[in-house]
Amino acid sequence: MPDEEFALEARGIIKIFGNHVALDNVNFGLRAGEVHALLGENGAGKSTLIKILTGAYQPTTGQVLADGVPVALDNPQQAQKYGIGTVYQEVNLLPNRSVAENLFLGHQPTRFGFVDRRKMERDSREVLKRYGLDLDPSSELGTHSVAVQQIVAIARAVELSGKVLILDEPTASLDRNEVERLFEIIRDLKARGLAIVFITHFLDQVFAVSDRVTILRNGKLIETRDLTGTTRTDVVRLMLGKDVAFSGATGVEDARPMGEVLLDFRNYGKKRSVHPFNLTIHKGEVIGVAGLLGSGRTEMARIMFGADAADEGTLDVSGKKATIARPTDAIAKGFGFCPEDRKAEGIFGDLSVRENIVIALQGKLGWFSALNRDEQLEIAGRFGESMDIRAASLDMPIKLLSGGNQQKVILSRWLATDPAFLILDEPTRGIDVGAHAEIVRTINRLRDEGLALVVISSELDEVVAYSTRIVVMRDREMVAELSGENINPGVIVQAIANHREGPAA
């Protein structure tokens, strides 16, 4: 099909960063009226390809064609002119501006040369309603949760896409209902003849909406094929280049012997943030935290870690009273915390991978017992290897790594401090199958080594796979604690959905 005319096409794209080949002679064609899944491991080059298709990056060599005609896309603005709407991987909107303005920036309705705010806000309300959001369009975007921001980003891209819609991991922070609604919209747009690119690490979602799939591996095009007649195993094999067994899905295991009590939160909470909760955590235990978006899971995690100070209740660590008013207190007690918003709170973009790994350990050691470069390299190298961090060099800035690898770096950062208790907030968000399995394996390993973990995740299958107990949050209140038989998706969903009479705690 070499002469087939595509709505949008990339031909022979090579993209080189420094001396790292991110894309190596990639061809990629989009037909009108199809949903095209773009798959690959972390760092395979998906986001880079997207950025080239939308003019955010220029290819080192190669061509982008729209409707068979070569086009020069010097910036995202031009891409918008060709009717290409894009949701980039990280939420890339403007937290300082209103929701309406984020939706319409650059395309605001005008009257007499001035922006017609009233119309803009009316239109916004309508657009957002389609996604089940009822919020004040004049409110600042930054005051809303990540999920809402993500939906706004999607809505914006859909509004802009006359011909092509590109979604780079749009579902990473959406809950099931929202994903379902997004899929409805995607199907609708497809029926209207749009070409849609869909990047995700959730294979279910790929099979739910996609028609064709293109797989990248290490910057190389592996294959583009129809999804009919393709199995999940095929896809995973193509992505990884080998067979893997997804080791997470162990199902219900026998009750594990519990270690001694490590932490005991009593009526712990913060006014106007999280209702007081009781939670006892043993060594060698993984507490899964389930709940809808915005149910207060992140806030609970932050209180546990002292990022926001609790103002009521008590905490015992190994049987002794402890006060945790700030992260340094928590770290001194052996806590670690991987935040949900990697870019804003996790990585030090301009610092090297090495420094990103050792920084928490160094913070624990203090100002004056500095790790020298060799020690840093040794530590970073050790974790780089054990966590399989893909980086050209440990001295390159972490911002150049793909999302999944950044997450591994942050996990390594805490493991390097030899923690007793780890809080992971959405550790597998935006992570490919291989890395995903690895992180789940790491969680299991850490548990077996006697660590206590609290893991927040929106993926129920995953939570079920590694948790010894599950707590359910609803409306910023801990409403249920599930263990043993009750650790299964059905019960959890019920607990999340139920009002008041949830399953017994």
């Binding site: 955010a56 910036n75 995202p76 603005q77 891409a79 918008q80 894009t86 980039y88 890339n92 909107l93 403007l94 937290p95 300082n96 501006r97 303005e101 984020n102 920036l105 650059g106 605001q108 005008t110 040369g113 001035f114 922006v115 705010r117 004049s138 409110s139 600042e140 005051t143 914006r156 802009l160 106007r272």
Partner: protein
Amino acid sequence: MSRSLRPLVATAVIFAIAYALAVMQFPSMFSTRVLGNFLTDNAFLGITAVGMTFVILSGGIDLSVGAVIGFTGVLIAVLISWAGWHPLAAFTMALAVAAAFGGIMGLAIHYLQVPAFIVTLAGMFLARGGASVITRDSVPVNHEFYTWISELIIRLPGGGRLSFIGLLMVAIFILGALVAHRTKFGSYVYALGGNPVSASLMGVPVAQTTVLVYMLSSILAALAGIVFSLYTSAGYPLAAVGVELDAISAVVIGGTLLTGGYGFVLGTFIGVMLLGLVQTYIIFDGTLSSWWTKIVIGALLFLFIVLQRLIFAASAKGEKAS
């Protein structure tokens, strides 16, 4: 009340209280004369500060404005007094030169990816140096047009005067507010200040906006230079030294965040008036020695910033409780 409106209200409240206190001590501070002076005497600062507001909203800073005022004054004076141009022609020339100057700084900031602080610092040296190269003297302007403009005043009861330049400043503030809050360009400026990477991915013409912002700032600085030249009927290479710092202070006191993305043009107006109030108060007091003047200005600056913080924090708490 929207979150970003709060600093604006805080500033307005502080201004009202401060003015009330000053009037209690010196009743003659509440007169049309003093109010008229507020507008006339701060006209050039206000116009400069409008441009500075845009620059700061976009996440940048412009240290060259004071020097541009000085340069413009000299250029105009030389063109009128030595070359015999009509003032309007000289004004047009000055605005054009400033536009080019600002545009070049904007280009350098965007394409060389050099921080605005440094580029505009170089711009400041260049403009100041350029003015001294043209002439080292203060060049007087004697033209009937200048006399005509200076006689364009509305007299108020009680000896107050609304001058042309004072009203011009008010007009620029209104225009500036419209552009910032009601046009696409304005939204691009805020977008740039919020997050330039996002802005670029969302299709904001980053290069064009950056260039336009610095152009606007330089043009308004040149306009301020014209106003300054009308105000003093002369051009002097050392005029308006340090006005950039006053303008930045006014913008920040007016509730605009130096990190960009949040703020109001109207806030800047109150900021300018607040600075004027402080100066007028010190003049009315008349007992402060040179050094105490500096210390008091510093202390008041500190006081306003802290008060604003406190009001901001208090109202932020109030919101969460609701």
